[in-house]
């Protein structure tokens, strides 16, 4: 049995990697980014999978064993609330506490006045980034942590130790989870390593989207310097978590750096100017990057073409996947766009099958395509529709 699973794993790994290298495998690989759907399928609440990562791992394994998928994320419900609680991170709405136990966790963005980073902090951020993170940012986002001027209280000290040890435990558990996915269902862990664009992380965790939008007009040079300060650190972090075998990609979660959130000049001079060199360096070191392009990035496809062939896999969310294929396929593999998420929620299985057929016929005939829904699949998706997507991909995805 173990031998069979290992053979299955090797087949799937080859299929997945071949497609990501823009080649033609034996069939279209299926790699759904299933998050809270796994909880629904396995009979857990959102609170359970967020609070106890072993429950989340169990849900991911149950789905991997039940569906004929080539690769999955070991835990797509990534935000472990045990860690968030150890620090009492203010930007989370925790299932079972701030939102119902049946709701997914949420990120809360503060008002412009209460942003985690204030406009006058830019110079310190850009020159002494580590000092800024430890001394100002962490105490602002974590209720349990005091700043350097505050007392080294019992609660402060305990929070730092237990969150550090907790993080270590959580990340170590991913190794066991990947081994169990391989052994128990022959499933590949789809990604390894995390990257965010400097511009995105500046908005997400420091200035807030509204604050950063104002900064683009009031202090654009400071925004540029802050993004440049982030670049080598984000690269280091991406590489620190990368797959040592260089099979699966580092994932970048792309948020609000595209038109119409910013204009074309801002995209070119800030977002792209400070992201492109990171991707090029990652590629120079032998790793692909999965561009998880949340929303619509169709206005920037020609910019992405500036990257070396094969350096990214472009994940299509709400863009026209046929346009994406026309503009990018000669250089990069494409994933996603297989079924819009709303259709997984309210559509019928036959409708799903027809959509998958159309996508595969339109974009996958030469290989270089990985089947997935448009966006991360949450608990609104119907199981029969996920099954229909899987079955149709297998039926129409044979080469």
């Amino acid at each position: 049995m173990v031998q069979d699973m290992e053979q299955l794993y090797q087949q799937r790994l080859k299929r997945y990697v071949t497609a990501m290298r823009n080649g033609k495998p034996d069939m279209v690989p299926i790699r759904p980014f299933v998050a809270e759907f796994t909880a629904k399928y396995a009979g857990y609440t959102c609170q359970q999978v967020c609070q106890d990562y072993e429950i989340a791992f169990d849900a991911a394994r149950k789905c991997a064993a039940a569906f004929d998928w080539d690769a999955v994320v070991a835990n797509m419900v990534y935000g472990w609330m045990g860690f968030a609680q150890a620090l009492d991170l203010k930007y989370y709405a925790v299932p079972g506490v701030h939102v119902a136990p049946t709701n997914a966790f949420q990120y809360r963005e503060p008002s412009e006045e209460d942003a985690w980073m204030q406009p006058e902090d830019y110079d310190e951020f850009a020159s002494d980034l580590m000092g800024y993170l430890w001394n100002k940012w962490l105490p602002r986002v974590a209720k349990e942590v005091n700043g350097p001027d505050g007392p080294a209280t019992y609660r402060n000290n305990v929070a730092l130790v237990k969150s550090g040890m907790g993080m270590l435990n959580y990340f170590h558990a991913f190794g066991t989870q990947a081994a169990r996915l391989r052994k128990e269902s022959g499933t590949v862990s789809a990604i390894s390593g995390i990257l965010k664009a400097p511009f995105d992380i500046l908005a997400d965790k420091f200035r807030g989207y509204i604050g950063l939008t104002m900064d683009l007009f009031e202090r654009p040079e400071k925004v540029k310097k802050a993004c440049e300060a982030l670049m080598p650190h984000l690269l280091w972090m991406a590489l620190s978590g990368a797959d040592p075998d260089k099979n699966v990609p580092i994932a970048i979660w792309m948020h609000r750096g595209c038109v119409p959130f910013v204009n074309h000049d801002q995209f070119r001079d800030l977002y792209w100017a400070t992201l492109k060199p990171i991707i090029e360096e990652i590629w120079r070191r032998g790793h692909q990057t999965l561009f998880y392009a949340e929303g619509k990035w169709g206005a920037h496809l020609q910019s992405f073409r500036e990257l070396p062939a094969g350096s990214i896999i472009y994940h299509c969310d709400q863009d026209d996947i046929f346009q994406v294929h026309r503009e990018l396929h000669d250089k990069f593999a494409i994933s996603g766009g297989g079924v819009p998420n709303y259709m997984l929620q309210i559509g019928k299985p036959q409708q799903i099958r027809e959509y998958v057929k159309k996508v595969i016929e339109g974009v996958a005939k030469d290989g270089g395509y990985i089947m997935d829904a448009s966006a991360i699949v949450q608990d609104d998706a119907k199981t029969e529709n996920i099954q229909a997507m899987t079955d149709a991909a297998r039926e129409y995805g044979q080469y």
Binding site: W80, L89, H233, S240, E281
Partner: protein, 56 residues
């Protein structure tokens, strides 16, 4: 790394070894060993804070 570092500390470090070395009495044994282990453990604090920023 080809991307220029504009911040006070290098990627992967919170407290540079050179700074810590000045605080220690003269090293009698293997300085390189001490440097490597200091940097390895220091990098864990670096990874911690960046994962709070990026992953949580």
């Amino acid at each position: 790394m080809d991307i220029p570092v504009t911040t006070k500390t290098q990627p992967g470090e919170c407290i540079p070894w050179e700074q810590k070395l000045k605080e220690l009495p003269p090293i009698q044994g293997d300085t390189d060993l001490m440097k490597r282990v200091w940097q390895d453990v220091d990098a864990m604090a670096y990874v911690y804070i960046w994962h709070v920023v990026l992953s949580f």
